[in-house]
Amino acid sequence: MDRLFSAAVTFAAFCLSMAAWGMGESPRPAAVHAAAETPEAQLVNGLLDVVHNRLDSALGRIDRLLQSNPNFRLAHLVKGDILLARTRSIATLGGGSDAPTERLEGLREEAVARVRRFRQVVTGEKLPAYLLQLDAKQKYAVVVDAERSTLYVFENRQGTPRYLADYYISIGRNGVRKAAEGDRRTPLGVYQVVASLPKEKLADFYGDGAFPINYPNEWDRRHGRKGHGIWLHGTPSDTYSRPPMASDGCIVLSNQDLRNLTARLQVGSTPVVIAERVEWVDPASLRASRKDLLSAVESWRKDWESRDMGRYLGHYSAKFSGNGLDFKQWAKQKQQVNQAKRWIKIRIGEMGAFLYPGREQLAVVDFVQDYASSNLSQRGHKRQYWLKEGSRWKIVYEGAA
């Protein structure tokens, strides 16, 4: 059957070119590969078999994969190619199909994304730049890399994140930077899981569960970004996975992955950072940026206690807005309130601190504030957005969380 097998060569070349995509730097620990073969691993190993002209082995792998995941459309496509590659030349994924290109496009993109994900090689103990500090109650944190079609889960180890798992995801079909209702984009920013909707309450479309996040958050609203209903959710019962850019803005996982993730999502607490492309940094560098931000917060706290209005208000940006007040109104109100006090004691705790993805030097801080003063005491959850202006962190938003 040699003459038949040789026809596979062009298809193999295509697979190789796809595999080459994944050679870049990346943080995924190598140990993940050693674990039991995930459907994704079975798929990619099947493609690698094709590359090495082992069509029988490839077909066996894909058949086994389809036995346990009969709705894995990409695997069906690969199966079609492997079968045809025995008798004719298949130049590209799905190349033997007479379907219009646009129908194949999504599956091809999924193949590229999955090969790329699979081929990621560990480059050390790097961490996402965003997870500066996790509150003790935040047992896990979620970081999404939109470009890499990947959702990472980190575990909170004494405030510092540790990689736990990652999953293939789909995002909005028009990409990222959600700004308007119906723009079919996924927002970028720091969010939280705010609800859990069980399967029983959902249409089949959303799969085995859904977790709405708090888009639009304070920062989005400040920038006039509209829309709502951004969820993490599963896939319909007849669909194993969707192409990388397929949703109307939601983050979609396979039902199997969603079930694994479910145990780690805490409503009202788990942070979900969505980045266009995750920035990975050394733990030392992460510690340095944490110290940089948290010392600014500490200095703000002390200056508030000191009742030195110049120093206290010096922590606020001219671009500040919060509670419906701009900087001038805020300064005036604070001056009036603080002048009447003989003393102020501020304690802050249960703090989570996150760097915002993107070019801006923006950070979000959540904490519980114990406020005591000569004439008033209160305790509450607070959220601040800090923006780095020159070399100084300044508060651009402050409000109850």
């Binding site: 079968l83 799905g94 199909s97 249409a203 951004i230």
Partner: protein, 346 residues
């Protein structure tokens, strides 16, 4: 025995027959049956070959012909048995494998067809017909795989295969089959056998409709447009059920029965006409009926299919029953018709 057989098989058919004339009657009988088949008398051919096989049950050529006759008669399952037994008794012969594969393919069992052809090629690596057939099977399976990948529905249009049945035993061992020995499956009656069922089309998944009048189930804005659409559909289903209950309440039999789809499945395996007769009697019976629907919940498992669960409050004279009911409705020509009716929740 197998060794001497193989030696014979390597020879052209004419030579083979002359050698076989050591027992002339045997060759004649098979020859006659072959002629009958060629002349379009498969029934007589089958009688003749059965008579021959009664005396020579092991004869490979006779059994092979019997398999061909059965295939010609579209008795695919029986033909499969014959060729399958031949592959067990003579695993070194590629022809029975090939024909077995063609028949499996006719039944849409491409995996089995593929295995059989691969066996044929394993025994005779340069067996051209089997190679061609295997190529067709690969293409067929690939089409199925692509259809599943891309969720295409080709109906049965693409189910045509051009598989060749081997018409004569010992035709291709080690040599390419003669064109005359290759018949396209589409030219023999077998080709009319039902095409392989393709996997059902799966349309883009619908969004569940909000329950009426209960609280709306959550719908992500992600799909607000389709949600709005399904809201409208929920309204249409609710209206259809309202009309159905109304027709029932007003003893209007034609209107009541008009709410049931052509393929409505009567409960408990009753026939459609028996069910209709009972319903006619019960619905038409001149007495006051009132049917009210509450707690309606509608979901759309498929775009043109709805599942409606509700509480049915039925009163007629002294009779009163409050039960939960689940109806499956299908949208036919823009109307929602009842396809299944069952008491209790789904």
């Amino acid at each position: 025995m197998p060794i001497s057989l193989r030696a014979l098989f390597a020879l052209p058919l004419a030579v083979l027959l002359s050698i076989a004339s050591i027992s002339p009657s045997r060759a004649d009988e098979v020859q006659e049956a072959t002629q009958l088949l060629k002349q379009g008398h498969p029934t007589q051919a089958l009688e003749r070959i059965n008579a021959f096989l009664a005396a020579h049950p092991k004869d490979a050529k006779g059994r092979f012909l019997k398999g061909l006759i059965l295939a010609e008669q579209s008795k695919t399952a029986e033909a499969i048995k014959v060729f399958s037994a031949l592959t067990e008794d003579y695993p070194e012969l590629p022809e029975p494998y090939n024909n077995l594969a063609v028949l499996h393919a006719v039944q849409g069992q491409y995996d089995k067809a593929k295995t059989a052809l691969e066996m044929a090629i394993r025994t005779h690596p340069s067996y051209a017909v089997a190679h061609e057939n295997l190529g067709d099977i690969y293409a067929k399976m690939a089409t199925q795989a692509y259809d599943r990948a891309l969720q295409l529905d080709r109906g049965n249009a693409a189910a045509q295969t051009k598989l060749a049945l081997i018409r004569e035993l010992f035709s291709g061992t080690g040599k390419p089959a003669k064109p005359a020995a290759k018949l396209e499956a589409s030219k023999v009656p077998m080709a009319a056998a039902p095409a392989a069922p393709l996997p059902p089309v799966v349309k883009p998944p619908p969004v569940a409709a909000p329950a009426l009048p209960a609280a709306k189930p959550p719908v992500s804005s992600e799909d607000s447009a389709s949600a709005a659409k399904s809201n409208a559909e929920t309204g249409a289903v609710a209206q259809a059920l309202e009309n159905w209950a109304q027709a029932w309440s007003s003893n209007n039999v034609p209107a009541y029965l008009g709410h049931y789809a052509k393929d409505f499945a009567p409960p408990a395996g009753a026939t459609r006409s028996a069910w209709e007769a009972t319903r006619r009697q019960l619905v038409a019976k001149p007495r006051k009926i009132s049917v009210a629907i509450t707690d309606l919940k509608v979901t759309f498992p498929e775009p043109n299919k709805a599942t409606a669960s509700f509480v049915q409050d039925y009163r007629s004279g002294a009779m009163k029953s409050v039960i939960s009911k689940t109806l499956v409705l299908v949208k036919t020509d823009g109307k929602w018709l009842i396809q299944r009716e069952q008491v209790g929740k789904k």
